[in-house]
Amino acid sequence: MDEIWWIILLAGGLTYLTRTGGHLLLARIGSIPPRLDAALNAVPAAVLTTIVTPALVSGGWPERIAILVCIVLALRLPLIVTVAIGTAMVAFARAAGF
């Protein structure tokens, strides 16, 4: 069989293992101690942050300013409105040649 197909099947299987692994590990432990529960409650805040930081580091000033503006907007506006404003800011800044 083609090497590519092996990569596709093995990479798919390994990725599925990462998507079930955390839950299976917890199921083996049984009850969740309070500190572990607190740690798991922090997963969204901890991991979603790391997906955003590259835009702050390797983006230009339009991206950095848009990120900071959207942090403030997200406190007040619905999600989709904030996303639309942030994206429009960056698109306009790029069209203006920044």
Partner: protein, 240 residues
């Protein structure tokens, strides 16, 4: 279809819409590059259907193009996808309405936006199978369809960056992140993760900034003194 089912589906699709606007061009970029790297149409689609994680698919393509050995391609895929271990540990606690088989399917769909949407939903009301699978299935079909579009009409979108499409996902995840700000320890956790991920991003480089930066924030949450007011052991979703 009951009224509840319909409203759960509507809620899922409303949440999904901005994500699809970003995922479709991303899928098309993947399909285009996969074809350019010499993958057949079946292989291009097979990759999207089995792995279903865009960044790791692109990294794998790059390594395949460089002639890297199979094991190093797989290592890169696992490194990029390791964050899902944390997702499944956290989301698994909200799936008590799901049967074993439904859980097995739910974890297959557990990509970044699904994780964020499911956690945000579980914070305010019980996470239903209808909401989860409506969101997950439509996003999966969108990913497959956009991969196919990219493979067939490679150059349809001339330059996604011109329209700011590459910025939708970061700003979407940022906005989603802010919806968790009521959780205890949000700011210490998020700021620690931000600082740690920036340091790792600039030193070790991606993809390690995700896992290591995330673990730094999680460690802060685990080490903080537990709040006496919050019912700690069961998590917030058990009330509903």
């Amino acid at each position: 279809m009951t009224e509840t089912t319909r409203s759960e589906i509507r809620a899922a699709l409303r949440e999904l819409l901005p994500v699809l606007l970003a995922v479709v061009p991303f899928g098309m970029v993947y399909g285009t590059i996969a074809t350019a790297e010499g993958l057949s149409f079946a292989q291009t689609m097979g990759f999207s259907a089995t792995v279903y994680a865009g960044a790791s698919q692109l990294a794998a393509l790059q390594l395949i193009g460089l002639g890297a050995p199979v094991w190093s391609v797989l290592l890169a895929v696992v490194a990029l996808n390791f964050r899902h271990v944390l997702y499944s540990a956290s989301v698994g606690r909200h799936l008590h309405r799901f049967s074993g088989l439904q859980k097995a399917m739910a974890f297959f769909f557990l990509v970044d936006p699904v994780f964020g949407a499911a956690e945000a939903r579980a914070s305010v009301q019980p996470l239903t199978k209808t909401f989860y699978f409506a969101y997950g299935c439509v996003l999966y079909v969108g990913w497959l369809a956009s991969s196919a579009l990219g493979a067939v009409f490679g150059s349809l979108i001339d330059d996604p960056a011109r329209y700011g499409l590459d910025f939708i996902l970061p700003v979407y995840f940022l906005t989603l992140l802010m919806t968790f700000r009521a959780r205890s320890g949000f700011y210490p956790v998020a700021l620690t993760s931000a600082a740690a991920s920036i340091v790792v991003y600039l030193t070790l480089g991606p993809p390690w900034h995700v896992t290591l930066g995330g673990l730094a924030g999680i460690a802060v949450a685990a080490l903080m003194p537990p709040k006496p007011a919050a019912a700690p052991a069961q998590g917030e979703d058990r009330h509903g």
